[in-house]
Symmetry: C2
Amino acid sequence: MRTALVVGTGLIGTSAALALAQRGVTVHLADHDPQQARTAAALGAGTDEAPEGPVDLAIVAAPPAHVAGVLADAMRRGVARGYLDVASVKGGPRRELEALGLDLAAYIGTHPMSGREKSGPLAATGDLFEGRPWVLTPTRDTDTEVLNLALELVSHCRAVPVVMDADAHDRAVALVSHMPHLVSSMVAARLEHAEETAVRLCGQGIRDVTRIAASDPGMWIDILSANPGPVADLLSDVAADLDDTVRALRALQSSDDDKRRAGSTGVEAMLRRGNAGQVRVPGKHGSAPRAYETVVVLIDDQPGQLARIFADAGQAGVNIEDVRIEHATGQQAGLVQLMVEPRAAAGLREALRERGWALRQ
Amino acid sequence: MRTALVVGTGLIGTSAALALAQRGVTVHLADHDPQQARTAAALGAGTDEAPEGPVDLAIVAAPPAHVAGVLADAMRRGVARGYLDVASVKGGPRRELEALGLDLAAYIGTHPMSGREKSGPLAATGDLFEGRPWVLTPTRDTDTEVLNLALELVSHCRAVPVVMDADAHDRAVALVSHMPHLVSSMVAARLEHAEETAVRLCGQGIRDVTRIAASDPGMWIDILSANPGPVADLLSDVAADLDDTVRALRALQSSDDDKRRAGSTGVEAMLRRGNAGQVRVPGKHGSAPRAYETVVVLIDDQPGQLARIFADAGQAGVNIEDVRIEHATGQQAGLVQLMVEPRAAAGLREALRERGWALRQ
């Protein structure tokens, strides 16, 4: 790939442009707001002048609702050899393009799974996609050359290519992202009018469950509007489990021993299915998070305490896989949970104790 | 308080005994399994010999189902001036004691909000409760002397006392702990039979939402069996929101513009209520987590990298409030999110850049 055109210079488009430009590709930048394209160009993402002839790859990074229209326009004008979009949903845009009667051999739908807490070109960075999955949805009609252009883009962005069917992709992101997002919002919503004394009892559990409920509703309306079917199907499945669980809990209130036993069995089945699903969530390096052992250290709230813990762990040759800091409300002391490979835990405990740290357990 | 009796030497009982013993209180230890009491004594939590006369405070730390029986027995034998339990639910035990016809002036129900990933005396530590809320549920009948004995225990354990009505407590823990736990299990359960390709797309969002679904079902059955009513009520409220949201998503699939607009409004209302609830979740020092600014640093997977980051932050005089490490599946590089006070963020960014770190944004 020598030349590319990025249409839509928000966070995703500008980040991809930066990665390509950094690897020597000539990148042209376009946006319905020319000022956005100028900003992206000023950041070093390419030029906001139009290409003189067709480029190798056109990357459409427009908002979901406009993707098909922008793609159709670009394809009719023949601005590139290959075309892709980066929208977070893949079935809809493809069907819209088919309905417009376009030849889709030169098109491939893609979705980089990057975090999107920020938006706009100023938040862009050439390493936004580094190490993240980037889904490609070729069909049997997709030109191999176009698939290879997409793979080259993914490689330049140092992302991990994952090939999937478009509809399977939409069901997958509904499962691992859209459904959990709405459920997190529903748990958080219960706190809206809760008494302050109750809210004071929040611990790390509810903090984790509700973290993503802080996201921007505008962006999520766009995402969910493009994928309502699969998300509704999954929420209906959750609703069925919820109804069963409410029934089981009501049975636990019964004075009848058999009913209470049945209630207990029902609740336990739900908890065990939760266990079975949770171990499948990949942690670092694709392993399950439970594969790590946790070493808990008590700290004061002084700058430098964490530095000393990590320096001491480093000197002991131990790699910290994950870390979590827990502070109680209103207190100046806290706990640091260090997650390490099980074979490294004993050595880390010994090293930290030797250096004077207070460990739990 | 000079003397105490701990009945039930599991994690909670032994940890409280350790804290009291460390502060000079003479602690007697009892358990229905004498070996457990001997183990606790060997750890320095007190003596497993019975007291010769009444002690100042009896702390009943038996499993929820046995709390009322053990308390009633202790009160009838007159083993102490004051009695408390530490069960995670408070309405039930009080009603059971009342039904047994006991005078409850000498009793106070309490609940230390400590983490309980481990169990048994060997996991106990004198600082288990440090900085954590410890709920006390006195009534107008509770002797002031007994309330003060409980406050002294909480103080010795360096926990933060919170006074609540027993039933309000049970509704509060249903809200901030029991309901979120079951909902987390339900989200995780959807992954049990998911395709491997879909599971590969999991990111930090679902990882956080499902983390607590990894907990031990046996322990959670005990907790939920003691508080089924308030949990069922809250899950029913969530079920109503879930049904509304499924309907809104189905409306988004409509070809009718008005229906789609109504669907969008419905989904947005849910997301905004989630925002409003999420900001109430206390972070460190009782502030909302969103009050922090995040600085994102790219790291390689080498021991010592985190130590260097924290050392560099410490040298710049910046206190890291929270930290999160994110790794992509199968990759050797990752991102470290450092949460700091907004006024410290610019200085931290500058300091880290000067020392050669790659920052996002």
